[in-house]
């Protein structure tokens, strides 16, 4: 309905004021992508290094403990992250630059939420790969770091990509946490300290009270989200095949 009645209004309208007939969704699309890629940028190194630590640089006992802890960590509901962000993180950012609810806050919270997914899936990939190759490389006299940087990681590109895609899906679909810490202003941000609204937060904020065209517009934004994830999955499938372990 929103599509047929308003055509391309969801791209070209001035802004998002559904009750005044303006349906521009681009700022929210940009917001979703920014916060997602930002958090991936932070979570990837965090995930890779923590999985390397668990797999190669600690005793088996600590490894088990570490792994259990991360597993537990992935089970924390997102609303808890959101509440923690709103009560602790946002006031700190607010002191640096008001209002505190910002792209930065969302990025940090999301990074914290998704890095364990990356870490967990990489720990198991490392285990599988190292079963054969680690001993061989040791017997060849290679240093551990040489093995990791020149053999393991280059050959596990596909797995790292897979883990990234998995966490991308989690991050872009995340609703409650970003709704609480991002400020929800529909505008393309010009700095990390400005608030944003994501597509998911938009649906959660407005669906309960939306009627008529407003409601259809929200469904359209859901479709937009779905197709974005679809495109990304196809892309990752393609890339995964290219990077597959060639041993």
């Amino acid at each position: 309905m929103a599509l047929s009645g308003h055509g391309t209004s969801f791209i070209f309208d001035e802004s998002w004021f559904p009750t005044e007939g303006q349906f521009n969704m681009i700022p929210m699309l940009v917001g979703s992508l920014l916060v997602t890629f930002g958090s991936l940028l932070l979570a990837l190194p965090l995930g890779i290094f923590s999985s390397l630590f668990a797999s190669f640089y600690c005793s088996p006992r600590i490894k088990t403990f570490y792994r259990r802890a991360i597993e537990l960590y992935t089970g924390i509901p997102s609303v808890i992250f959101g509440l923690w962000g709103l009560m602790k993180l946002v006031p700190i950012i607010n002191q640096i630059q008001p209002p505190g609810q910002s792209l930065l806050a969302g990025t940090l919270i999301l990074a914290l939420m998704i890095f364990p997914i990356i870490a967990l899936s990489l720990i198991s990939s490392f285990e599988m790969a190292s079963k054969n190759h680690f001993k061989v490389s040791e017997s060849l006299g290679l240093k551990k770091s040489t093995y990791i940087w020149f053999i393991l990681l280059p050959n596990l590109k596909g797995q790292i990509l897979g883990a990234t895609i998995l966490s991308f899906g989690r991050a872009i679909g995340e609703t409650m946490a970003v709704l609480m810490v991002c400020g929800n202003i529909v505008k393309i941000p010009s700095s990390m300290f400005e608030p944003i609204r994501t597509l998911t937060a938009n649906i959660a904020l407005e669906m309960a009270y939306a009627m008529g065209t407003h409601r259809s517009a929200l469904f359209l934004s859901g479709l937009l989200l779905l197709s974005m994830i679809g495109v990304l999955l196809l892309l990752s499938d393609f890339l995964k095949k290219r990077f597959a372990w060639k041993a």
């Binding site: 004021f17 009750t19 209002p99 929800n184 529909v186 309960a208 009270y209």
Partner: protein, 265 residues
């Protein structure tokens, strides 16, 4: 065969016993009326209540034309609407809230308006500390937003918010953690949170304390009535449903939607 006949007979009775009414009107009231209708239907399985929205004027129009048995009107009735019977379900009030540490006690209508359209961006200009004002607005479609816009004669696109929130709780959490924020939320939610020690302050408005009590007795101006209207005296299911929504039983549901039930103590 006999079994089938029994089922058919039963179905026949079921359709015969079904009574259906249509309720249309204010989108502010539709969610709470929908909830109440669902509760009513679950207790009286032979009733069907269809709730549609379209604004208060549609509620009036449909009730007049007989297209709907009950109309929902989220304002006091005008003089030329005296041909309809009205039943006041509840009142909807909003409180302007700021952090406890903010020294301001009262703002005028103009000051609030200027803060929300960012003509005034520093608390200093309205008698507070030298701090940037953080403006908190509600998401589209919320009834408190609608009431706020109507009262201050603003369009949502004129407001320049720093933060947009969804429900009242989120607004209260935001303000309680930000000494420079200003927000408006349903009065019931604000009063409850302030009473349990959340560091927020309800601003006086036009000389009246922001209190549920003052919404009830009508001295606090930032509020409106939520009315059910019927053409003539309600009959049948419409009558029963109106009695139900005005009863003790419905009160909690109304409160859950942060409205102030009219018959509450």
């Amino acid at each position: 065969m006999r079994f089938l006949a029994v089922i058919l007979l039963f179905l026949g009775f079921a359709t015969y016993a079904d009574e259906k009414i249509v309720i249309t009107g204010s989108s502010t009231m539709a969610p709470v009326i929908s909830d109440l209708a669902k509760l009513y239907e679950s207790k009286n399985s032979d009733s069907r209540i269809d709730v549609q929205t379209g604004g208060s004027s549609r509620g009036i129009l449909d009730a007049r034309k007989g297209l709907a048995q009950i109309g929902l009107v989220s304002r006091a009735l005008k003089e030329n609407e005296g041909d309809l019977r009205h039943f006041t379900l509840a009142k909807d009030g909003l409180a302007i809230i700021i952090h406890n540490l903010n020294p301001i006690k009262e703002l005028t209508e103009d000051q609030i308006k200027n803060i929300y359209i960012k003509n005034v961006t520093n608390w200093k200009l309205v008698g507070g500390k030298d701090k940037e004002i953080v403006v908190v607005n509600k998401a589209e479609g919320r009834s408190t937003l609608e009431l706020f816009l109507k009262f201050f004669k603003l369009k949502n696109s004129e407001i320049k918010p720093d933060i947009i929130i969804g429900d009242n709780e989120q607004g209260i959490k935001t303000v309680s953690k930000n000494p420079n924020a200003i927000a408006y939320v349903s009065i019931g939610a604000a009063e409850y949170n302030a009473s349990v020690g959340v560091p927020l302050k309800l601003l006086r408005f036009k000389g009246a304390e922001a209190k549920v009590q003052n919404v009830k007795n009508g001295t606090y101006p930032l509020m409106r009535e939520l009315n059910l209207v019927t053409k003539g005296n309600p009959k049948g299911l419409a009558d029963k449903f109106i009695k139900y929504v005005l009863s003790e039983e419905a009160r909690q549901t109304i409160k859950d939607h942060y409205f102030v039930p009219i018959n509450a103590k």
